[in-house]
Amino acid sequence: MGMSGAGEEHGVAIALRGVVKRFGALTAVAGLDLEVPSGICLGLLGPNGAGKSTTMRMLTSQTIPTEGAIEVLGYQLPESSKQARAEMGVVPQLDNLDVELTCRQILTVFARLYRVPKGDRAAAVRRALEIANLVDRADTRVDLLSGGMRRRLLIARGLVHRPRLVLLDEPTVGLDPQVRQELWSLIDNLRSEGTTVLMSTHYIEEAERLADTVAVMSRGRIVTQGRPAELVLEHAGREAHEVYGSPARLAELREQAAREGWVTRRSGPALAILHAERHNGGLPDGERRAATLEDAFVTLTGEEIE
């Protein structure tokens, strides 16, 4: 594995401090502070347009921050980005596989790019094919693979050199539920091997299922960070109280909530009153349910979930 950067000794795989990225008049990332400890899976959860992909691209220096400092595996970016990239694996959101090559050919090219020594390359490729469950398809051209297989190959490509850190940008976006389950167990295995994972996602379920720590991102900033259960407790409480009714009734209820200082969110056809366990009586008729990460997320970002 070679020597590690000093950041690793301090248990910090990624550190961003005061990072700003502006594209002309648009500010995509607006003062981001984030630390990813070694050995955990951190889920960067935020709605579309929150700045997650820009953040991911800054970690590989494909986007250069306008302000702020970034350190990955102890290397300062962008100056030492290439060293950092040699020790991490990246799985992009958009499929950028070479469609004319076979799985084995792609993995071989990347094993070389990741500086896997010549004598170890064939074994590294075989191992990556096994991880992605593509051994039977090793010599199949990419344009003949299914969407799920391509996505697994994309992950295998980022793991061919056994990186200590893996960046996953929206790993299951646009995939059907069965393929998503497959990828989740693949990511689970990575985490259980002690690989540090930074995963961006706009799926709450995905963050809840995979992440040890969730950082909620909104409008280019981290608004909160913690274990999923802590975030739920802090921002939505233990229970939510859902009240159903006509739109007029719900509007009336929302006004009442504002007067009384209740925290609410729209929840499908209902209005959910969060931190319901704090209210002993005094709430209109409704149904109690456990508070979820979605409740916390909506409260924090102001984004409604369709």
Binding site: H10, R17, G74, L101, V109, R112, L113, Y114, R115
Partner: protein, 270 residues
């Protein structure tokens, strides 16, 4: 959220700006894909000059028996080496680079691995230069089959083809990076490459052309390539002018290489 500033890292081997492993890795990708195309590429790079030789050699050859003291078939057989180099370098570089960054996002995949823009541009240029160094010789081999007998210095022609081809490959990479759309290639092709191709002394000597056009020919890399190849194959080396031609081709290549890296970085890194 406060983040403690970690101390500066102990560096392991510092990676260089341009690393041979990265170049070989990117080129191995191109070479792997090329194993699927070499037949069609080889076919067209042999058949094209054959047709030129037949059409011009026998067509024009009937009107003009010799040019500057050379048999017309010798004149044209050496001249179209530069044409073959141009067609196997500038065009693949333009289209290939554009498709790779715009449609296939291949370069994004490389940049997420330990590969920098300098290395991507350099690899593409070297790979296409190498191909041009091989395929540029095809017209010569065809001309030899038609009876041209070369001097031993003709063995240096692949080097000239490589240098010229790498320069035009770099030009193509730069154009692809600058062009926002593939349609803009038409401006370059018709406005620049076709005129350069015609005033290179390939089919007719440039001495008879107006002074202004002769002056343009002096800065046309294809003209220098044609002169050098013709000297190496049939005329014999004329040291001073030939070193001048070679120096011009190398300078063109280096200038285009820097331009390609600069423009590709502007295109790929934001």
């Amino acid at each position: 959220m406060s983040v403690a500033a970690p101390p500066r890292p102990k560096r392991r081997r510092r990676m260089r700006r341009i690393e041979p492993t990265a170049l070989l890795g990117v080129m191995s990708r191109d070479a792997t894909i090329f194993t699927r195309y070499w037949k069609t590429t080889t076919f067209s790079s042999v058949v094209d000059p054959t047709i030129y030789l037949l059409a011009f050699g026998f067509g024009f050859g009937a009107l003009v028996s010799s040019v500057n003291g050379l048999d017309y078939k010798e004149y044209i057989g050496t001249g179209i080496v530069a044409t073959a180099v141009l067609f196997s370098s500038a065009f693949p570089a333009m289209y290939g680079t554009f498709i790779k960054y715009r449609f296939q996002r291949t370069y994004d995949a490389f940049l997420a691995a330990p590969v920098d823009v300098d290395e991507i541009a350099t690899s593409e240029i070297l790979w296409i230069g190498l191909r041009a160094g091989v395929y540029g010789n095809a017209p010569l081999l065809v001309a030899i089959a038609f009876g041209l007998s070369p001097k031993w210095t003709a063995l240096l022609v692949p080097i000239v083809c490589f240098v010229t081809g790498a320069g035009f490959a770099a030009f193509g990479v730069a154009i692809a990076a600058i062009a926002g759309s593939i349609d803009n290639f038409n401006y370059v092709q018709s406005g620049l490459l076709t005129p350069l191709f015609l005033i290179a002394g390939t089919f007719f000597p440039i001495d008879g052309l107006p002074d202004a056009i002769q002056a343009i020919a002096q800065v046309n890399p294809l003209y220098h390539c044609v002169q050098l190849v013709r000297d190496l194959v049939v005329m014999g080396i004329d040291p001073l002018p030939d070193l001048g031609h070679l120096a011009f081709l190398i300078a063109f290549g280096v200038a285009m290489w820097r331009l390609a890296i600069w423009r590709l970085r502007v295109r790929l890194i934001d």
